[in-house]
């Protein structure tokens, strides 16, 4: 099937957002999202079983409201796309089961697509076709990656990724340590504005020469991230203040922590772009909303001659429109649908943009 401006319905359930989006080619018609975030607040992080239970209850109502708001019927849809991975496997299975049932009952082709590549594909809905020489920096509670996007529908490569916690996860854990609640990103970003980012020098993960190497002779983790040592360093710092019976300087710690995260993410992303000839960078994921990340990334991209593109926040966080947007590109390029027989893949590599038949 090859269609221009196909009408595609996308389904997302890889973490705690149940998303159903509908696009017509590069035009966004609706982006319906139900989040179970509130239910995770008292745990300070996403609890997979709670998220999976919420997906089951949210799916049909979210689908119904998406169709209603877009003013389209299932009969008019050209194809369905669903996130098959990466993500939480129990959560993915709810969206995938629902998507398969939807495809089965409507007779529409089904594409099983990659969540990370969908974070890039969503860029199409805001500013049209993606530029050449494109890199993507994805930062969220579930992932932290640098991608090289040679072709959105046929050639995406992983340049670097976190080897332990995702950046957003580090924000959540540090917010917990500082008693700031959940989610950690927005609250740390806010409190950091009142603190001194140079007050405490926290470690920048995987920046030592033995990990980074040189451009000619790159180390094993040149473009990779690690945030678990940083989280431990923050915990020790807080502990020391408490042992001494001193008040914990929450704003300074938040600002210094945020600076450590953002410094290493932006410097590594810009270096990866430079060394791979990428002159355009798309920022995605929920942490794209972080003010300091945007500020420093914009500055460092500008000095490196890299054009930065940041979709609106509602398209950066997990949603169904991004799945639909990538699905529409796959249809447009004549990629064959996956069918009903595939499995979810919680570790789906970015090279698998959509699963083969």
């Amino acid at each position: 099937m090859s269609l221009s401006a196909p009408l595609v319905l996308g389904i997302e359930s890889s973490c705690d957002e149940t998303g159903v989006g509908i696009v017509r080619g590069t035009e966004l018609l609706v982006n319906a999202v139900a989040s179970s975030m509130e239910e995770h607040v008292r745990f300070g992080g996403v609890i997979p079983e709670i998220a999976s239970r919420a997906h089951l209850d949210a799916f049909v109502p979210t689908l119904e409201s998406a169709l209603k708001d877009a003013g389209v019927t299932l009969a008019e849809i050209d194809a369905i796309a669903v996130t098959s991975g990466p993500g939480l496997s129990g959560a993915l299975m709810v969206g995938v089961s629902a998507a398969k049932a939807l495809a089965l009952a409507t007779g529409k082709p089904l594409y099983a697509i990659n969540h990370l590549v969908a974070h890039v594909g969503v860029g199409i809905l805001d500013g049209g076709e993606l530029p050449e020489n494109l890199g993507a920096l994805l930062v969220s509670g579930g992932h932290t990656e640098i991608l090289q996007v040679n072709s959105l529908t046929s050639d995406v490569r992983l340049l670097g990724a976190t080897i332990d916690d995702a950046a957003g996860e580090a924000y959540d854990k540090v917010a917990r340590l500082l008693g700031l609640g959940y989610p950690g990103g927005p609250v740390i970003d806010r409190i950091a504005k009142e603190g001194d980012p140079k007050a405490i020098r926290f470690p920048r993960g995987l920046t030592l020469p033995k990990f980074v190497g040189t451009e000619e002779n790159p180390g094993r983790h040149r473009h990779d991230f690690s945030f678990s040592g940083l989280k431990t360093a923050v915990a020790r710092c807080v502990e020391q203040y408490q042992k001494r019976g001193e008040e914990v300087p929450v704003a300074d710690i938040a600002a210094s922590f945020q600076e450590a995260v953002v410094d290493v993410i932006t410097s590594k992303a810009v270096r990866a772009c430079r060394e791979n000839g990428l002159t355009n960078l798309l920022l995605g994921g929920g942490v794209a909303a972080n003010s300091r990340l945007r500020e420093l990334l914009a500055a460092r991209c500008a000095s490196a001659g890299i054009t930065l593109r940041v979709p609106p926040h509602s398209l950066c966080t997990d949603n169904g429109a991004m799945v639909a947007a990538l699905g529409a590109q796959l249809v447009d390029d004549g990629v064959l649908p996956t069918g009903l027989g595939f499995s979810t893949d919680s570790g789906q590599p970015v090279s698998l943009i959509s699963l083969a038949v």
Binding site: R42, F43, G44, I47, E49, I50, S52, R53, H55, L56, F59, V60, L63, E64, L74, S89, G90, M93, V94, V96, S97, A98, K100, A101, L102, A103, L104, A105, T106, R176, L177, G179, A235, V238, E239, Q242, V248, L340, G341, F342, S343, T344
Partner: protein, 223 residues
């Protein structure tokens, strides 16, 4: 009336049942031989059952609401609810242990009996029925020793035969590895619909909380 039955409280299973006022005929059925492939095999199986039945859209759906392992259970429920929405037909819930109870009644039990399946974590999901298959207690999730004395039908009995024997509960031969399945579940639903008995909604019977623990630091304690 054509009824699509789905149960994923054990292995993925689906069946198409054709019913008239007096008979229930199985038009086709599927049960996976593997235990953890629900999301992979269920929709393809339903697709081929429907194709075999000439592509007719069912008049109703019956779905097992558990108890059973959560992830598999949700695959069946998400599938049933979505199919029901698209086709605009009713989706009726059936307690999954009722499927085994229906098969047990065919053996002519003398009095009340128990149906039990594995609940993992060294526990059983179980329920009590009278000799005509009417639910009289449960479903529960407990260790084997909490089951009442008397006959036990289902794989949970086979799993803990010795511990059950110690409390006077004995496993019925032939039912040591019996699981809920879509054919029996659908038959139960068709009979209930025909006789005007109420069925359940499609809320899953998890019987257990999500097991998430509130971390100490969230309770107002710093470290």
């Amino acid at each position: 009336m054509l009824v699509l039955a789905i149960d994923t409280s054990a292995n993925a299973s689906a069946a198409l049942l054709e019913s008239t006022d007096s008979t229930v005929t199985v038009a086709g059925s599927f049960t996976s031989s593997v235990g953890n492939d629900h999301s992979e095999v269920l929709s393809p199986a339903i697709e081929s059952l429907l194709a075999q039945a000439g592509g007719r859209i069912p008049d109703a759906i019956a779905v097992g609401v558990g108890p059973g392992p959560f992830t598999g259970l949700r695959v069946g429920l998400a599938t049933a609810r979505t199919l029901g929405f698209v086709w605009g037909i009713g989706v009726h819930g059936v307690m999954s242990l009722d499927a085994v109870a229906l098969d047990a009644v065919a053996q002519g039990p003398a009095g009340e009996f128990t149906v039990a399946i594995d609940a993992r974590r060294k526990e059983l999901y179980w329920a009590r029925y009278d000799n005509t298959g009417v639910l009289v207690g449960g479903p529960y999730v407990t260790v084997a020793e909490e089951l009442p004395a008397g006959p036990v039908y289902g794989a949970g009995g086979g799993l803990y035969a010795e511990r059950l024997a110690a409390v006077g509960a004995e496993v019925v031969p032939g039912f040591e590895s019996a699981h809920p399945g879509a054919v029996s579940l659908g038959t139960r639903a068709v009979r209930a619909l025909a006789s005007g008995q109420p069925l359940l909604g499609t809320e899953p019977l998890y019987l257990r909380e999500s097991d998430a623990k509130v971390p100490a630091v969230m309770k107002g304690k710093l470290l």
